[in-house]
Symmetry: C2
Subunit: 271 residues, 2 copies
């Protein structure tokens, strides 16, 4: 199997403008960017596309099309348009709202929202990738908190333009992870990697670089490969883990950790 392309998430670089982020990623050897629409430094699709072109790096993924529901349809269309303008093949979306009064109605609304957005995604050549969150976020971020739920939704669509974003931090705890990733199969459209750092008491576990925490990330990547995913591997260490470093040094440390994980996955170790 050819080595995976590597993608750097803007989520580690919210303190930089997008041009600085793109340069650091390119200089550190990443193949592509995961751009954040919600980043303070995001100046829209055209400016971002120019910044990436100047840095000599492509955009793989756009995060994110808001909390996907019918009420947010116009916003979803805008995000699909931006993804297309950026040349990003994947738009990550989250199911909203958190804590719906009626979970069944929320599921129906999500289905309807995807159904509405699908023609635009097909025209734009963009995969809408639904991302399940960690159960710790069920009350304040998203009601969709297991891989099985997300696969259930994706399977309702017989389209290569509805996919899944699988994030190690959100999914690693699941005793049904391996079965879920097998079931997700060719619907996996993005693989996002961060480690789960055991926190101080009372703190939410922060994201860490691969190797800093509890997740056997090599195994996680290997499971996505065995499920048929051949796309890029994104490192998405949200938070201020690398904020104190100069941008290039931060990007290099993330690249090294990601490369190490990818090698671990190829070798079948628990790295």
């Amino acid at each position: 199997m050819r080595p995976a392309e590597t993608v750097l998430s803007q989520g580690s670089f919210l303190h930089l403008d997008t041009g600085e982020f793109a340069l650091a990623a390119a200089d550190a050897g990443f193949d592509a960017l995961a751009v954040w629409r919600q980043a303070p430094g995001y100046r829209g699709a055209r400016a971002t596309a120019n910044a990436a072109a100047q840095a000599g790096i492509r955009v793989d993924t756009l995060c994110r099309g808001g909390f996907l529901d019918r009420a947010g349809h116009e916003e979803t269309l805008r995000a699909i348009g931006e993804a297309a303008e950026l040349g990003a093949g994947v738009l990550v979306v989250i199911a909203g709202p958190p804590r719906p009064a009626d979970p069944r109605a929320a599921g129906a609304d999500l289905h309807a929202a995807l159904d509405l957005a699908l023609p635009a995604a097909e025209r734009a050549g963009v995969v809408i990738a639904l991302e399940p969150f960690h159960p710790v976020l069920a009350a304040d971020r998203s009601w969709l908190v297991t891989l099985a739920q997300a696969v259930d939704v994706a399977e309702e669509f017989d389209s290569p333009h509805v996919g899944l974003a699988v994030d190690s931090y959100h999914l690693w705890w699941d005793p049904r992870l391996a079965a879920g990733l097998r079931r997700a199969g060719h619907r996996i459209a993005a693989v996002q990697l961060a480690d789960w750092v055991v926190p101080e008491p009372g703190r939410l576990p922060p994201r860490g670089l691969p190797g800093e925490g509890a997740i056997p990330l090599g195994d996680f990547v290997k499971l996505t490969r065995e499920a048929g995913y051949e796309g890029a591997l994104e490192i998405e260490v949200l938070g201020d883990r690398v904020r104190s470093l100069p941008p290039l040094e931060a990007a290099r440390s993330l690249k090294t950790a990601l490369d190490h994980t990818a090698v671990g996955a190829e070798e079948g170790t628990h790295a």
Copy 2:
């Protein structure tokens, strides 16, 4: 259906000695105690039994028999003996360790540990109640983080002395909760209630009194009733939520919240 008996967890009163805790619980109108072996104020089974008798309240549950595995067998036997001496019908146990290198081996070890402890539990008339934890605790507390996993383990034993402790804080997020509780059925041996309070960023969600957070606790209780559970309802608001109050006032506020939840469950509301 007769009103459920009410149980107060020592987990809200770790700053008190067991005698003060027992008196506050009895004075506030609770029917029984959930005693914590790990409480700083725990002075052993005999002293605790005397304190409960003096307060005029029984002990329903003993928390907890350590992290259950074969290596901890002697500790489990001690905990079963203490539960019997306290007249507690239920001993809550947690599956250990967190993050086992080989989850399958951990499952086999848990099965073996239960198998070893079962004769003593049967002789003592104590139900060993396995408690699944929240997935946010998978890296530092227990590998057993879904109700489905816990039911899988309990179903391996055809004995009324292997049961389940279902805690709203740990389980509420699960999209398969209703199905899981139905499946748990008569194996439910303890129902523990606390709300999930949406936290400040970066904090682990603290436990709250019923009504303070995100969980429809009336529905949770109703699901356990529909599954066939007729035992006591325990309020287990760990942490320092009521620590600043005088003990009796704290116990009364917990009793009021628990009664309100129980009424909500009977009425089928989302209270």
